[in-house]
């Protein structure tokens, strides 16, 4: 074998997959069509956001790179939803796109046991047994062997971009699609389908009139995404806000037939949560204006991203409606907005480990699996990379539960239910979001990463000292009085916060802002968190009932035909997962429970 692991693709999934594998000492090759586009932020120049920010910190807590990359290259930082409660607060940062991508490449280049190679993978090599994957074949005719392969092709598999009447076989504007791999996978027996997504136009900063816009500054201090970083000191750049107007909407309505989406040229389904401007205008005709965020693509560039104006209309129409927006009258478009349609692999063909059910040692991660977003891709890449190694080691895969990480929710949703539009993470997808706070990712996940060899000793020490400080502060509060009552009890009252308590209990001030915030949330929401923990415990009992891979549903008398078909297709790995397959009856789950109990004696 040439390598232990081959990772196809150098996007956010590929970066994490290749680092996870090589960092545990396994020789890894990352193959990409272009070494110059590693870690590129193809769409908006931002990392994080609600639920997504949590994922970045989950990836970081398990030894991933995304948090460190954004900490080092951010140009604006904000905490979202500060007023709406701890469970749904999350950090988001604007990135310097070029620095981010360059640092990603540099990190990969410096990583021991990791090699980079520029070529296009066109086929997957399979052993004589017809079941075990053993390498890849490439466009330039190489056959490279490996014990495990991770596919992270993003939007490049048979990608096609659309700008009005224009279309081109590209995965990103000006970048050739990956041709061949899709056919190869279909020949192997995988089912694929088309998805669609889009991105916004970039305009020259010099051509904009900022005096007609609202300025949006970042928050200080910057709380690092990475649990390894104590402080992040970066110069922040503002974003700007403006609005579409009647004329914008009129231009769009007049030209809607020239959109490939409405004209029927694009068959793939686009994301409802991130609609194009033509979608917004058509679906919400009563809205007088839509917000546009003008975000810098970096500190060393003039390009500005028009967030909120994603479109696949022709360039002349784009120019017209962009120029109708206050502040953008003279905007010079540097890159047009465009839609991209690409192949994705039905994720229901994967196990919870992200290994394929059809072939051994073949893993899939990222947008290939039907997701959308850098963060969603990164967390899958990390898990696929870890599990490729676990498979080679002949050890149990790392499977995160829905109760401990958004990553767990995401993968369980994908492989259990599949998806019909690009899947994005939302906090409302998680049943136990109080337990999935971004500031506690390290407590939940770092010990797991440590067991897999993905943690430095310093990181575990940092975690231990954090846990120690949390315990200390809780003890201080228990031992102190406030307003005639125990300070910990007083903190539960809505109108009391730790700042107020610190007036009487100055010891509180000895603790860092992070620790104080964390303890405050823990105590304030103790009742809810406790209740959720108990629910989660019960939930986990079903997840812990393993269904053996060779379980024969045909031996189960009384199982409905409808449920049997679904169960045989998805092959759930545990009872909890079985219960989440849409269309499987509750009665059949009860029946399955009876059979499993009998089997286990």
């Amino acid at each position: 074998m040439d390598y232990d692991v081959i990772v196809i693709g150098g996007g956010h999934a590929g970066i994490e997959a290749s680092l996870a594998a090589s960092r545990t000492g396994y020789s890894t090759l990352l193959i990409t069509q272009s070494l110059d586009t590693i870690g590129r932020l193809s769409c908006n120049p931002a990392i994080g956001g609600l639920a997504k920010g949590n994922i970045v910190r989950e990836v970081d807590a398990m030894g991933g790179q995304m948090g460190k990359l954004i900490d080092a290259t951010l140009v604006q930082y904000r905490i979202l939803n500060r007023r709406r409660g701890p469970a749904v607060q999350a950090p988001r940062a604007q990135a310097d796109k070029f620095s981010y991508s360059r640092l990603a490449k540099e990190t990969l280049e410096h990583q021991e046991h990791l090699s980079l190679f520029m070529d296009t993978v066109t086929g997957i090599l399979v052993e004589k047994d017809g079941r075990t994957v053993c390498g890849v074949s490439t466009g330039r005719g190489h056959s490279i062997t490996a014990k495990a392969v991770v596919v992270t092709t993003g939007t490049f598999m048979d990608g096609r971009i659309f700008i009005g009447e224009y279309d081109a076989p590209e995965g990103r504007l000006g970048e050739e699609r990956a041709f061949g791999l899709g056919d190869s996978l279909r020949t192997m027996g995988f089912t694929t389908a088309r998805l669609k997504t889009g991105t916004c136009a970039r305009v020259s900063s010099r051509s904009l009139d900022f005096s007609k816009m609202e300025r949006q500054d970042g928050d200080e201090p910057i709380e690092p995404f990475s649990f390894d970083d104590d402080i992040v000191q970066r110069t922040q750049i503002p974003c700007w806000i403006t609005y579409t107007c009647d004329r914008t909407h009129q231009i769009i309505r007049d030209n809607i037939s020239r959109s490939p989406l409405y004209g029927g040229k694009i068959v793939g389904k686009g994301p409802r949560y991130c609609p194009s401007i033509e979608d917004k205008v058509v679906r919400f005709p009563e809205r007088e204006r839509h917000q546009i965020f003008i975000e810098p693509e970096g500190s060393g560039t003039d390009e500005m991203y028009l967030n909120g104006l994603s479109s696949s209309l022709p360039e002349d129409v784009q120019n017209d409606f962009i120029h109708s927006v206050p502040g953008l009258e003279n905007a010079q478009v540097m890159r047009p907005a465009y839609a991209v349609e690409y192949d994705f692999v039905f994720p229901t063909q994967l196990k919870l480990s992200l290994e394929s059910k059809l072939y051994d040692n073949l893993f899939f991660a990222g947008q290939t699996n039907g997701t959308s977003g850098y963060e969603e891709a990164a967390c899958q890449g990390l898990i696929a990379g870890i599990n490729a190694v676990q498979k080679i080691r002949k050890e149990e895969p790392l499977i995160l539960s829905r109760t401990e990480a958004y990553t767990g929710v995401l993968i369980d949703d994908l492989v259990t239910k599949g998806t019909s539009e690009p899947y994005r993470m939302f906090t409302s997808r998680a049943e136990y979001r109080l337990s999935l706070r971004h500031d506690t990712c390290d407590i939940r996940l770092t010990p797991k990463a440590d067991k897999l060899g993905l943690c430095s000793p310093e990181r575990m020490q940092r975690l231990e000292s954090k846990l120690d400080l949390i315990a200390q502060l809780k003890q201080v509060l228990k031992d102190s009085k406030f307003d005639g009552m125990n300070a910990a009890a007083a903190l539960k009252r809505p109108e009391i916060d730790l700042d107020k308590i610190s007036e009487n209990v100055p010891e509180v001030n000895k603790f860092s802002e992070n620790i104080r915030e964390l303890v405050q949330q823990d105590i304030k929401y103790e009742g809810y968190i406790g209740r959720e923990d108990r629910q989660a415990e019960r939930f986990l009992k079903l997840d812990n009932l393993i269904i053996p891979p060779d379980f024969d549903y045909r031996t189960m008398e009384g199982l409905s035909e409808e449920s049997r078909e679904k169960l045989e297709k998805i092959l759930p790995e545990n009872l909890g997962q079985a219960s989440r397959i849409s269309g499987v009856r509750t009665s059949d789950i009860s029946l399955l429970l009876v059979y499993l109990r009998r089997r286990n004696g």
């Binding site: 919400f284 939302f426 509750t586």
Partner: protein
């Protein structure tokens, strides 16, 4: 996925949910004994009790009860279990159910005890068909079928309320799923919508007493002096209702009972031994029983022979009114078809059981008295199952907490927890709401995303 959880503590009323001498509650699940002991006057004794023993004691503010103890491996389900006998009054039954809920016992789903017995190896597991039938009755579909059979309007109404709440929830969730500056559309807290659904659900929950009545029936006791015409009236009731089972003669008891229906309400009707004129001195066992029966009734009809009223009948009337304040009563001035009939005194209803003159008036009077105060004959929707009732009550109290928290301006993510609880409870009645459903509502209702 509440229904396939099998490791919590459940309870159910094992006897008919109607007034009777005794009511039996059954629990199952690890921790049953310890948890029940915490509210029981003989707690220590209970904790030490062996399988198959009885412990007597009091539950403060509820009832005095006898508890049969089943340690793990014994009893029907094979789990640690209790059988609690309390008094059979409606009040005692509902107090007991509330108590058990507050101790963390969950109202069992239909067939759940049997399912646990299967799982515990107490019943023959090879009968897969039987298992399926049992678990089958627990399905959403079967629930819905049963629902639509019994009362399609009920699930319609709950679904309507749930849909309104889901819309309200989407207003909250969109704010949790998107940053402040990414949402276009109205995100004011939907108090009105929540309040409206909450009030409707509460109204539905209140129909449970009506439902219980319709399901379990009321006890109506006919009494009066010998020869007052009780048996004629009894037979008249039975004749009116063709669906009756043949009367059961009181072999060891001095009364006859039978089921019939009055104005659509099922009735258990009792014909009693004659009361003596001076029932002050209770002499015979028969009279003792008649009085006990009267006291346990929902309604008594005291019948007087208008042609030859027993002496002191007005005193008896007064005594009944005084001594049985909780029982509803009617006084019938019978045999008015006879010429020598005396004029009807105040407070009596004119009746001839012989010619059935005045019978309809009597029936209407009975129906209106035994119906709960909020009984609505026109009400198209009635909650009949205790489990549905429990879920409705739980949903209402979760919504009360939502409104309370909103008043205190607590964080939306916490309020969402209570909203979810309410939706989950309604989900047990008419199907779960998935996170995909919620996202559908968000995307169709709001213009979101940058």
């Amino acid at each position: 996925m509440k229904s396939c959880v099998d490791d919590d503590r459940i309870f159910a009323l094992a006897t008919y949910p109607a007034r009777s001498a005794l009511a039996l509650f059954r629990t199952s699940g690890e921790g049953s004994i310890e948890s029940f002991a915490s509210c029981f006057s003989s707690g220590k004794k209970l904790l030490a009790a062996q399988s198959g023993t009885l412990v007597h004691g009091v539950i403060q503010g509820v009832d005095d009860v006898v508890v049969a103890v089943y340690r793990k491996g014994h009893g029907y389900t094979g789990e640690e279990a209790l059988e609690i006998s309390c008094h059979g009054s409606i009040a005692a039954i509902s107090l007991m159910a509330e108590k058990l809920s507050s101790l963390g016992f969950r109202q069992a789903e239909p067939g759940e005890f049997t399912l646990r017995a299967f799982l515990g190896g107490k019943l023959d597991l090879t009968q897969a068909e039987a298992v399926n039938e049992i678990s089958g009755s627990r399905t959403r579909r079967a629930q819905l079928l049963a629902l639509s059979r019994l009362n399609g309007a009920l699930s319609d109404r709950i679904r309507k309320d749930r849909s309104a709440l889901a819309d309200a929830m989407s207003v909250i969730e969109v704010q949790l799923d998107y940053a402040e500056d990414e949402i276009g559309g109205d995100t004011t807290f939907p108090i009105e919508r929540i309040m409206e659904a909450r009030n409707d659900l509460e109204k539905l929950a209140r129909t449970f007493s009506t439902g219980t009545l319709l399901h379990a029936g009321a006890r109506v006791v006919l009494c009066g002096a010998a020869n007052a015409g009780k048996s004629t009236l009894f037979n008249l009731f039975l004749k009116q209702d063709r669906s009756i089972v043949s009367p059961i003669p009181g072999t060891t008891r001095d009364f006859i009972e039978s089921d019939c229906e009055i104005s659509g309400i099922p009735i258990r009707l009792f014909d009693t031994a004659g009361l003596r004129e001076s029932s002050e001195q209770i002499e015979s066992e028969g009279i003792k029983r008649t009085i006990a029966l009267m006291k346990s009734a929902d309604l008594i009809v005291y019948i007087v022979d208008s042609a030859s009223p027993e002496e002191g009948y007005l005193d008896v009337k007064a005594r009944i009114e005084q001594q049985m304040p909780d029982v509803k009563k009617l006084f019938a001035w019978n045999k008015t078809d006879i010429d020598s009939s005396l004029p009807k005194p105040d407070g009596f209803l004119q009746l001839s059981a012989e010619t059935s003159e005045g019978f309809e008036t009597l029936c209407n009077a009975i129906a209106s008295l035994i119906s709960p105060s909020d009984f609505d004959c026109e009400q198209d929707v009635i909650v009949e199952s205790p489990r549905q009732h429990q879920s409705l009550c739980d949903a209402v109290s979760a919504l009360d907490r939502v409104l309370e928290m909103q008043k205190r301006s607590e964080n939306l993510d916490m309020i969402a927890v209570e909203m979810k609880e309410a939706l989950d409870q309604l989900g047990y009645i008419c199907g779960e709401l998935t996170s995909d459903d919620m996202l559908d509502r968000i995307f169709s209702g709001f213009c979101v995303g940058k």
